[in-house]
């Protein structure tokens, strides 16, 4: 019998070690696994490399992890937002390393890690500062930059429903990075709003098959965040 459910967020993140690379799902706060991040803060791991689209909002979730000085480096596409002051201060103080990646290359590099691609030629970023020093090639008259996979030790993501095999469905635009991060990490930990019975999810509509999921924590009232109007992508 397979049962990937875990009783608490604390138990789910207990083995994340110092220096680990951790992908964190979400686009802004939509899909951000806030309770798993809170558990990671309580757990104490430090020197982390974080992969997320952004660099935190306000002082909750990812921003709280940054504020607690647990993060050595962040790989993201859009760190600067109206309420990213925690990251901004760390960055200006030289206390955090930033690898800035165009959002589509970030997504494709994560997808490459999960699907066994060694590297790929992408048109995005060619001729820009963000491709400086990278290998380029002209293919069929178009210019491309060679980009490599981004792998992780852990992924922390949020989904809507899971079953005990770890099959997942998401909700609306909170899906974003969840499915590709789940496949790119050695150990994927999911907080879901509801665990349902095996067979309750439509097999045609499962977005993340359970093979990509190691642990599932049910956190019914995860919706404590609010939308953040006015910040950019």
């Amino acid at each position: 019998m397979i049962d990937k459910t875990v009783g608490t967020a604390a138990a789910a993140v207990a083995d994340i070690g110092d220096g680990a690379t951790v992908m964190i799902g979400g686009f802004g706060t939509a899909g951000m696994p806030s309770e798993l991040i809170d558990a990671l803060i309580d757990q104490g791991a430090r020197g982390l490399t974080i992969v997320n689209n952004n660099a935190g909002n306000g002082e909750v979730g990812l921003a709280a992890l940054l504020k607690a000085k647990r993060v050595r480096k962040i790989i993201c596409s859009f760190p600067r937002q109206t309420d990213s002051y925690v990251f901004d201060a760390l960055y200006h103080a030289g206390e955090i390393e930033l690898e800035l990646v165009p959002q589509g290359n970030l997504a494709e590099r994560i997808r490459a890690a999960g699907s066994g691609i060694g590297a790929f030629f992408t048109p995005t970023g060619y001729g820009t500062l963000l491709a400086e020093g990278k290998e380029t090639r002209e293919i069929n008259g178009r210019n491309y930059v060679l980009e490599y996979p981004i792998e992780a030790d852990f992924a922390l993501i949020k989904a809507q429903h899971a079953d005990r095999w770890g099959n997942l469905v998401y909700r609306k635009t909170a899906r974003n990075f969840g499915p590709i991060m789940a496949a790119a990490a050695k150990c994927t930990i999911v907080q879901v709003r509801e665990v349902v019975n095996l067979g309750d999810l439509d097999p045609e509509a499962v977005v993340t098959p359970g093979i990509y999921v190691r642990r599932v924590v049910e956190i019914p009232m995860a919706a404590k965040f609010v939308a953040q109007p006015g910040a950019a992508a």
């Binding site: 596409s77 939308a227 109007p229």
Partner: protein, 211 residues
């Protein structure tokens, strides 16, 4: 000097988008275009965080934090919408499937280079988001911007002085003074604000413009 208002600019862009087009409207000024899409056309909006068939902002109180656009503002989903993950969404962009995207800009060069992600100011925190993917991905890239900076310098330039977002990617520029196509033979003015001559527009712009 006459200027097109922002609403006029947005309406003009809206008129240029045909029925059935798949369109991504960038953050800022381009967002206005959504209010000016001709009502007799079905135009399907894409937001890079994983939605085709994006609808207007919800009624106050009906916001859903799981349903936002690339600017992280609450939106709605139309009948016929589809959700997908980030790799699929950016594959859609990079693969050339969007008919059109509309972007803001700091500068556009006469060759169609776009600068819209970074001022290059020392100490500024760089942030790029999906700008570079949009710049190279859509079949047509439209830019909406003021013609001049607040200091009166032309934002249409021989060569971008800001860090570029993409090379040779802009197809058309909508400013408060004119609508200009970027062609293989140079910039071609296809509309101009009442009372402004091509000669005067050329002088203000500091680059060669043709009829």
């Amino acid at each position: 000097m006459n200027r097109f208002t922002r609403e006029q600019m947005a309406a003009r862009v809206g008129r240029d988008i045909p029925n059935g087009a798949y369109v991504n409207l960038g953050i800022g000024l381009p967002t206005l275009v959504a209010n000016h899409l001709p009502r007799d056309r079905e135009i399907i909006l894409h937001t890079e965080n994983g939605l085709l068939g994006m609808g207007p902002a919800p009624e106050p109180g009906a916001e859903d934090p799981d349903l936002i656009n690339a600017g992280k503002q609450p939106v709605t989903a139309l009948a016929g919408a589809a959700f997908f993950h980030h790799a699929d969404s950016f594959g859609m962009m990079r693969g050339g499937h969007l008919d059109c995207c509309v972007l803001g800009a700091f500068q556009v060069s006469v060759g169609g280079d776009l600068a819209n992600w970074h001022t290059g100011t020392p100490g500024a925190i760089p942030a790029v988001g999906g700008a570079m993917d949009l710049a190279i991905g859509a079949k047509s890239v439209y830019v909406m911007m003021d013609h001049l900076t607040k200091k009166g310098e032309s934002k249409i330039v021989e060569r971008c002085t800001y860090p570029v977002t993409g090379l040779k990617c802009v197809n058309r520029i909508y400013t408060d003074l004119a609508v200009i196509d970027v062609t293989a033979k140079g910039l071609r003015v296809i509309d101009i604000v009442d009372g402004l001559s091509l000669a005067e527009l050329t002088r203000i712009s500091g680059v060669e413009l043709k009829d």
